[in-house]
Symmetry: C2
Subunit: 340 residues, 2 copies
């Protein structure tokens, strides 16, 4: 029996039978060619350089699937690589699992997979394990992708909330809000959307270089959902120290600010996908800044704040451009559904 | 600002802000208490016993979410543990990522998470990383769960298609079709559904014991989607050898057979979630069988077939109870959507 060619995903593509095998051999394996994946074992077998590992996962439900600067495939690869990178690891391998709605275009799936493969290749990370499930039309919205990531810890690196102390500097590697405002502008169809592009990128080349040059860095986190506001509030709450941010020093693109103003968002709350917040002692801050500025992913880096003594419990304050102070709260979370 | 209590999942629970933090601290962390997860780092930090690891992932979209013998939480934990187990690894850590539909009952989520935690505890595996995304009502069907798994390879174990040779015995640890027919019977509402129960279980205790007692075992695979038919066809196609299955020796529960007959399914194609197919040399087959029979997960084990010389390319043949022969094809995959 010959299988009828199809340009759409069918339920049988997720059934574990012949159509699943076809999808794997025709659409998936050619894009992610590596010896481990090609074995199609129940689990990928890896020899790591070290038994000290980092392990993480994220699911991606971004809408729309394609946006200026990326798509769900690139995002799913870069996002999970970044969680390893900011934990002080060298990313080694990813898994990639898809939940696809019946009727989804195979051509669109191919584009997403090609983009995921390109992002993984660019970061020198192998996609070694995967899974495909198909659900009926209406039971999912197009495609959702999960990636999990495995990395080996960089030697002599010790990143933790516990090392953060008053006086430490807070650095970011570039402009905030680019990813979230790109997605929201495309969704709302506002006119200048073409001027906006997601910052979606793999941060590992930058973080590895920073940690090599300044192993004394104390903490890193990528300000994704919840934006810079969520990240600095997490730092404040976990350390018990307060944080001051300097509004004038936070890098923002004018078109991003215009979009935020038009749509009524505070850019501090908006997701980034190629940014890292770095906390480091004052005497290494310039070194970190130099490393950032010497790398394409950190050209717009700046010191944007400082860890401060907490008076009555930890708070985050923004020192405004006119010298006022306002509290930066943990966002509620309703602002931007399906941003990543 | 006090958050209004809610008994339903809101979009903001997936927004990375305060409601996400509440969900993590109130509903997730108390169930999966371990030091690694409690750090809430971007990636979990682990010291493994060995740098030789296995890594795998699966997404779970089973419908209904609760079934006789399990639920999506237990299934997501056991299924990924089993992929590590049959690859010859000792499962160590899992990630668990959820995509939840807005409006999903928090009480139901709690049940699912408690069940996942119980399954992980029972298998002595820690859930060390996680993620929660929420999509609008209608953009997903209740809840989908992805788990990825990390295990360390058992020493001196070498499982691969390449070692399989004609004459090798094929062993299964018990009855086939229990999981798939339980799900289908519940979906169809047929009367004897109460007599059926999924075999959903973590196989690692059994596979580790088998590999310790009989390190010469050549290959193992869990016959999930596509059932026994898919697994033996994969073995035939990957080795180039043919396979003979003995119908009279394949363990089947009468109620499962009755359900399959009523609904028109071939049990060879039906998913299992607590079964392992083991390929081993003839001189170790009895040893493997003894180990199986001495373990609760293998009490119903039997030798169900043999690897044979291939004449004109590899085929799988069933020797029927009356002595006939029929070809067992790779299932097409349409039989059972959302079985796991």
């Amino acid at each position: 029996m010959k299988d009828t060619p199809t340009n759409k995903i069918l339920l049988a593509h997720g059934g574990g039978g012949r159509l699943t095998a076809n999808l794997i051999s025709n659409n998936i394996l050619p894009k992610f060619s590596n010896e481990i994946l090609a074995q199609l074992a129940d689990a990928a077998s890896l020899e790591l350089d070290s038994p000290a590992v980092c392990f993480t996962t994220d699911s991606y439900v971004v809408k729309p699937l394609f946006f200026n600067g990326g798509d769900i495939g690139k995002l799913a690869v870069c996002g999970t690589i970044n969680d390893l990178a900011v934990a002080g690891a060298k990313p080694v391998a990813l898994s990639l699992s898809m939940i696809i709605e019946e009727g989804f275009e195979l051509g669109v799936l191919d584009k997403i997979l090609a983009s995921a493969a390109e992002a993984a290749d660019g970061a020198e990370v192998s996609i070694v394990a995967g899974d495909t499930k198909v659900v009926e039309t209406g039971a999912a919205d197009g495609i959702f992708i999960n990636t999990a990531g495995l990395g080996t810890k960089l030697p002599d690196v010790n990143l933790s909330f516990g090392r953060i102390a008053p006086g430490d500097k807070i650095i970011i590697n570039g402009t905030i809000g680019d990813h979230g405002m790109t997605i929201m502008s495309q969704r709302e169809g506002i006119k200048f959307e073409s001027q906006l592009a997601s910052d979606c990128a793999s941060l590992a080349p930058l973080t590895c270089r920073i940690l090599e040059a300044a192993p004394g860095v104390k903490f890193m986190r990528d300000p994704t959902r919840g934006g810079l506001a969520a990240t600095v509030n997490e730092i404040a709450n976990s350390t018990g120290h307060s944080i001051e941010l300097y509004e004038k020093d936070i890098p923002i693109k004018p078109a991003v600010q215009a979009a935020a103003d038009m749509l009524g968002f505070d850019l501090l709350d908006i997701a980034n996908e190629g940014k890292v917040v770095i906390v480091t002692a004052p005497d290494t801050a310039e070194k970190v800044l130099d490393v950032c500025k010497g790398h394409p992913l950190g050209a717009g880096a700046g010191i944007i704040g400082e860890v401060a003594q907490s008076e009555d419990g930890p708070i985050v304050e923004l020192i405004t451009k006119v010298g006022g102070r306002r509290i930066v709260q943990m966002p509620y979370g309703r602002e931007l559904p399906r941003i990543c």
